[in-house]
Amino acid sequence: MSETVTFKLNGKDVSVPKGWTVMKAAAKEGVEIPHFCYHEGLSIAGVCRFCMVKVEGRPKLEIACNLQATEGMVVSTTEDEVKEAHKWALEFHLINHPLDCPICDQAGECSLQDYYMSVGKYESEMTRPKVLKPKALDVGDQLVLDTERCILCSRCVRFEEEITKTDALGIFNRGDRATIGTYPDKRLEHNYQTNLVDICPVGAFTSKDFRFKQRVWFLKDKKAICPGCSTGCEVDVYGKPEDSHYYRIKPRHSEVNGHWMCDKGRYYYDHMNPVGRLRKAISGIEGSRKFVDTDEAIADLARKISNSSVSDMALLVSPQYTNEEYAALLEFFVTQMGVKNVYQWREPTESTEDFDGILYRGDHNANTAGLAAALKAVGLENNIENQFDDLAKSGAKLVVALAPELSSTYPSLKEQINKLEELPFVSMWTIDGKVFEYPGINHAIPMKGFAEKKGSFIGHSGVRKLEQPFPAGNEHARDLVETVEALTKVMAHL
């Protein structure tokens, strides 16, 4: 039982655990104290001098981020003196800010813009020309740095020190010539660079991947779970549903991933974009393969299934689908039809035990544990050895393959699929448009991506739920199905 303290915030009694700062208590109470340098996931620096609050009985205003709440303290954030302090602090931050919002990717989600509107002093007193600094510097594989926009809050420097422990960034020079930068001839090289874009309250760091692609006010975000590894970070996927186009992924604060996510995960929206995606089903039951409607392809598959004997059928399942999809698939093929041959689709080069100490794990599948549990539930053994050779040799006449959603996490994907060329009929359920290039694949069904379906993964830290699917947008998304939906349609045809 931890000790609590009670203090007055804007005339209201607030009880928080001892040791909490006024900033943290205010955030919990829903009282917004303007701040730049304070970040919940980092240490306290107190450099921006923006989060001023009035404490009764103390001669000067104090910074809320470094002010511990004590018993009986009376704090105000609404007095004129405090408002005046916020106004002037912001005026100082804007002295050398270039105001290139029109070309800045942060515009629309920028703290400077937001605070200018809420607490700003609209007319600047500054008459001297602004200090010019280097712009558009290439400081890392993922990052572009604009030192003019920087307000020197030092969040990025602390991130480098505390989270990745790479110490790649520092503040150089003094006074109005102070700039953020890397050490000479050094670049940021770790796997967590894009977090700097997220924590930067202004547009000093921008992401090379997202740079100039879209203005943020056109984007909608939906909650999802990163499918890139078994950690299962909680993320927000940003896209334009009307175009069925996705633009970026950002981490959402949770117990699993804290405030961060890795750079690899940031790219796992691209396979859901119309270019390069399988948007129509392929059917080649009789004669040559051609693109058809999904319903037609499913009817073809159902006919094929009803004409085949159970012993000739095999399933090939990759661990990147949801528990619900596995349950439906195994229920239908194993329990109802009696298929015995279930193979797992694993990457032979993977090292599942790897862990980088922050978030990224070597098992690049979101649901390895979920697949194992689903197999166990229908009484099959969970064998994660590479099984493509076994499958190719088994002589199965009808293979239904649930291909991995993220082809990029399977470096030997092509090689593996080519092994299936000997088999007479392979129906690949996939999202990857390259499937047409493999001559061994006679049939394909276009699947929905992780941001477009509901379901759950069993990640490293328990069950993670996908709850907010993007709606099917335009004609590109009309034919997409998820496994459960496809199976229901197959059953209707039998």
Binding site: C101, P102, I103, K135, A136, R211, R215
Partner: protein, 201 residues
């Protein structure tokens, strides 16, 4: 009294003109006016207000908001920074921009594609108002013709560089510190006047 409406009684039909022949005099008065103006016009006594456009020129104000154009920087590059503010404010959703990284670091962001679907455009001028750098303006050209679909999507090259613009019009907004120039661009004003005159011939 509420609810009571007094209806006037019909005019008494005791007059010859009101018995059904009154229209003759009214119609002959009207036809007299029509034919007399027609006579004056064909004999050239009175000027007609109808123009034989396009053979005869139509004089619109120089400030008429017609066909869009994109302005340029003093060095000839397109002034637009691809901030998307015009596309955001466009009520007709007719502006399509694709932004990209310019090869020179001084410009950074520029429009790789800038297209206006002129059939959707309602000529409200919001794009002009939203633009922070005077990159897009509605010019005085009011006549727009075309006979197939592509003609109606104005590309970046057409908007910034069509022959009527005579080498392009310079924006009045400039990054003062980076490219010091005068605020006043006489060549811009002259060219716009020329554009208006061009429409008249």
């Amino acid at each position: 009294m509420a609810g009571v409406i007094k209806v006037a009684s019909p005019p008494e039909d005791n007059n010859l003109f009101q018995k059904g022949y009154g229209y003759i005099s009214t119609i002959s008065q009207g036809m007299w006016k029509t034919w007399s103006i027609f006579w004056e016009q064909i004999t050239g006594k009175e000027k007609t207000n109808t123009l034989e456009w396009p053979e005869a020129p139509a004089n619109y104000s120089d400030r008429f908001k017609g066909k869009h154009f994109l302005t340029r920087r003093p060095d000839g590059q397109v002034r637009c920074t691809a901030c998307f503010l015009c596309a955001t404010h466009c009520p007709a959703d007719c502006i399509h921009i694709e932004a990209g990284q310019h090869p020179t670091n001084e410009i950074e962001k520029y429009p790789v594609r800038f297209e206006i679907d002129i059939l959707r455009c309602v000529f409200c001028g919001f794009c002009e108002e939203a633009c922070p750098v005077d990159a897009i303006r509605l010019g005085p050209e009011y006549a727009m013709t075309g006979n197939y679909g592509e003609k109606w999507v104005y590309t970046k090259d057409y908007l910034a560089d069509r022959t009527q613009l005579q080498g392009g019009i310079t924006s009045v907004k400039d990054e003062q510190e980076k490219h010091p120039t005068t605020d006043h661009h006489p060549n811009g004003e002259e060219k716009i006047k020329a554009l208006a005159r061009h429409m008249q011939h």
